[in-house]
C-alpha cells in the first residue's frame, strides 16, 4: 500500500498528505459563501498560471488535480442546480474533462476570470445536453430536495420557527417562477453569482442583468400579494 502511495506521488506529483493540508488551508473560512470567495481561491489562479507554462505530464497531472479539488464542489452545484441526476452527473464529468483539456488555453489572469470561464464551459455543456434532448428548458432541483438542503444546512435546533417560515416561504416563491426568471434568481441568490458574472456567462450587459433581476423581484412581489 505504501509502495503504491509512493508510486502515485512519483507518477502524479500529487501528495495525499500535502493535498489534505492544502484543502484545510483552502477551505478554512466562513461556510455558506460560494467557494470562489474563499481565501484559498487566491491559490487557484497561481495553479492555473503554472499549469499554462508546464509541459511535463506528471507536473500537469499534479496541478490539474489540485485545481479540480478547488473547483469541483461549486461546479457540481452549478450543474446539479440546472439538470436532474443521473444526466447531471454525466454532464458534470464532461465539464471536468473539458476544463482539464482546455486548461492550457485559458487566457485570463484572475480567479474571477477563471471561474467565469469554467461556468461558460458548464453552461455550454448543459445547453448541448438540453438541445440533444430537444427539451428547451432547465430542470431545476425539486422543492423537496431544496428543502432537504436547507434542513441539512445547520443543526435543526439552531433554526428558529420564524427562520423556518421565512425560508420555506422564499423557497416556495423561487419554485413558482417561470424558468426564465427562475434561472436568473437561482444563479444570483442560490449560486451566488454577481451581476457581472451572470452577464459574462449569458453574454448580456451588466445593466441588462441588473434590470432583469429587478423585474423578476417585482414579479415576485405580485406573487406575494
Amino acid at each position: 500500500m505504501r509502495g503504491r502511495s509512493v508510486h502515485f506521488r512519483r507518477v502524479t506529483g500529487f501528495d495525499r498528505r500535502v493535498s489534505r493540508r492544502f484543502l484545510q488551508k483552502s477551505f478554512a473560512c466562513p461556510k455558506g459563501e460560494p467557494l470562489r470567495f474563499r481565501s484559498g481561491m487566491t491559490d487557484l489562479i497561481k495553479l492555473v498560471r503554472t499549469y499554462r507554462v508546464t509541459s511535463g505530464l506528471p507536473e500537469r497531472l499534479g496541478l490539474a488535480e489540485r485545481i479540480v479539488l478547488l473547483i469541483q464542489r461549486d461546479l457540481r452545484f452549478f450543474v446539479f442546480g440546472a439538470v436532474r441526476p443521473p444526466t447531471a452527473e454525466d454532464i458534470f464529468q464532461e465539464v471536468l474533462k473539458a476544463v482539464a483539456v482546455n486548461l492550457g488555453k485559458f487566457k485570463g489572469d484572475t480567479a474571477k476570470e477563471f471561474w467565469g470561464w469554467c461556468y461558460r464551459i458548464a453552461r455550454n455543456k448543459i445547453n448541448d445536453e438540453l438541445a440533444r434532448k430537444a427539451a428547451d428548458r432547465l430542470q431545476p432541483m425539486p422543492e423537496e430536495e431544496l428543502w432537504q438542503l436547507v434542513e441539512n444546512s445547520v443543526a435543526p435546533s439552531t433554526l428558529s420557527a420564524a427562520d423556518r417560515i421565512d425560508l420555506a416561504h422564499s423557497l416556495k416563491l423561487l419554485a413558482r417562477f417561470k424558468p426564465d426568471c427562475g434561472e436568473f434568481l437561482w444563479q444570483h441568490y442560490v449560486f451566488g453569482l454577481d451581476y457581472a458574472e451572470i452577464a459574462a456567462q449569458k453574454e448580456m450587459s451588466y445593466d441588462g442583468v441588473r434590470m432583469k433581476i429587478g423585474r423578476c423581484l417585482g414579479e415576485a412581489q405580485t406573487l406575494v400579494a
Binding site: 497531472l61 464542489r73 483539456v101 445593466d207 412581489q221
Partner: protein, 146 residues
C-alpha cells in the same frame, strides 16, 4: 476594524437593492463607495431603473441612500434579503452532500493525459522549422571600381 456590535450600513441603489454583497463597516466607508459605484454608469450616462426610468449619472449620487443594515426601504429589498438568506442555507446544505473526489480526479487525469498525448503527437508531426541554408553559395563580392 469594525467592532462586532458596531452598526453596519448598506448603500441602496435607486431600485432599493444593496450595491455591495456585504454591508459596509461604517457610514464613511459606505459614502466612499458611492462615487465608485456611480462610475459604472459614467460611460452609459444614465442609470436605468427596473421601471425603465433613466436617472442621469450626475444625479445618481442623490438617489442612493445609506441605511443601517437591517433597515430596508422597499419590499423588493426585503425579498432580496430573504432570497440571500435562502441561498446561504442552500449552499451550506450543499456542502454537506458527499462528493466522489476520486471519480472526479480520475476523469481529470484521463483528460490531461489524453491532451498531453495529443499535443505531443502534434509536435512530432509538425515539420521542423526551416533552418537557414548554409550550403547556399554566397554571391561573390562586387568587383571594386577603379
Amino acid at each position: 476594524m469594525a467592532k462586532p456590535d458596531q452598526k453596519k450600513f448598506n448603500v441602496l441603489s435607486p431600485d432599493g437593492f444593496p450595491i455591495s454583497r456585504e454591508p459596509f463597516a461604517s457610514q464613511k466607508e459606505a459614502e466612499a463607495a458611492i462615487p465608485k459605484w456611480c462610475e459604472r454608469y459614467q460611460e452609459q450616462g444614465y442609470y436605468s431603473t427596473a421601471d425603465r426610468e433613466r436617472i442621469p449619472v450626475k444625479e445618481l449620487p442623490n438617489h442612493v441612500p445609506i441605511v443601517p443594515e437591517g433597515e430596508t426601504v422597499t419590499q423588493q429589498a426585503d425579498l432580496d434579503g430573504k432570497f440571500k438568506k435562502l441561498g446561504h442555507h442552500l449552499r451550506l446544505g450543499w456542502e454537506q452532500q458527499p462528493i466522489d473526489t476520486e471519480k472526479n480526479l480520475a476523469t481529470v487525469r484521463g483528460a490531461v493525459r489524453e491532451q498531453w498525448q495529443k499535443e505531443r503527437e502534434e509536435k512530432l508531426a509538425k515539420p521542423p522549422a526551416p533552418t537557414p541554408d548554409k550550403t547556399k553559395e554566397q554571391e561573390p563580392p562586387e568587383p571594386e571600381r577603379d
